[in-house]
Symmetry: C2
Amino acid sequence: MRKILLRIAYDGSAYHGWQKQDNADTVEGRMYTALSELCPEAELCGGSRTDAGVHARDNVVLCITPDEFRIPADRLPMALNRRLPGDICVCSGEERNEDFELRGAPCRKTYEYRILNTAMPDPMRRLYCAHVSFPLDENIMAEGAAHLVGEHDFTSFSSVHAQVQTRVRTIFSAEVERHGDEILIRVCGNGFLYNMVRIIAGTLVELGRGACAAEDIKRMLDAKDRQAAGPTAVPEGLCLKRYELL
Amino acid sequence: MRKILLRIAYDGSAYHGWQKQDNADTVEGRMYTALSELCPEAELCGGSRTDAGVHARDNVVLCITPDEFRIPADRLPMALNRRLPGDICVCSGEERNEDFELRGAPCRKTYEYRILNTAMPDPMRRLYCAHVSFPLDENIMAEGAAHLVGEHDFTSFSSVHAQVQTRVRTIFSAEVERHGDEILIRVCGNGFLYNMVRIIAGTLVELGRGACAAEDIKRMLDAKDRQAAGPTAVPEGLCLKRYELL
């Protein structure tokens, strides 16, 4: 058995998310189609299960093949890219030991959420930014984001449909910066619940427009109730920027 | 008769260029569809006729309506945007005198051509950048671009299919800059021939990879022969950034 760790970038606009589904076009589904031409027995394992419309600059997935599969790990990206559509790109391949497991491996994931904060929308950024036409105060947003840092129960910031054993996660950093006409939210943590970054973004927008105060984030966390936090922001602003294995 | 000057941004990826055609989806065609719901008699006039796949941050078009059309010029963008797809946005509307003509009006157009200069393509920039995987020297490209500035016969830098009275145009500035992993070509002039900026970009890439020298641009201009210049670069890297009426 061979294990090859692939790093993948994709534009999620056209897909029903990462995870393979029977009747929907997904990124993992496309990966399987490409891979099956090279090695029909290959299996894919792990990878951040991004939602429909969410992008990735650096998602990872483990490709498991029989020993007979002979393409070197560093040649596999090129071979796959020739069989993948232009909105999915395998950026690197790295041989791993047979005992390596991706699921459950300690990691640090960095997500970015882009908000275009202008009166008019921008057609060329519509697939990669949320558009907010009212003024946002990025300083209050940054102050609020800082309260998310640390180990917390993120029940208030996760979809009620998330099926997990624990909703405790650790956020290493949470920053908000203005770059020209965009506001960028960057959150780094050891794992994220279903819809978590999008609910964080939706809540920070509420702070930015003055609907609540930075300190309210603490009250929202304590409530452990999805109703306490803000709305789920649209998927197109979100991108998994970096998936580090620790 | 009313004349309203509209400024328009669009993602050209899905369209067969600006100009209305009978059997193809175009930006102008979509504008007519939206406009006809508000004023069936309205006509559109002018506008830079961008190619299939080329984008615009700021194209202009003159909307001509009967006097009975009552929507104020500054409200027309909102009314049109509600009827346009997300990849086209009318950014502003401005009332003009009845004797104003857009065609032939002195102007300054600024085009930008984006090149992603990395080993691997980027799915999230594939629609807005040309991808060049070999190293490019942006200093030689900038040196070559400088030779384009001034009034020249641009026959070598225009499609042989361009039907025009004269191929003499004035380039006010031509710059090449590296921004992170992208190379940006910015050309500003009083008018551009069919495919002209894409041929300039394709030629500057030839310079950047060392296939010819900066001074060769002068020889190419003098030749007045399309064969003398480099290839036509792909449309997706090109964007009309600014259309100034002088």
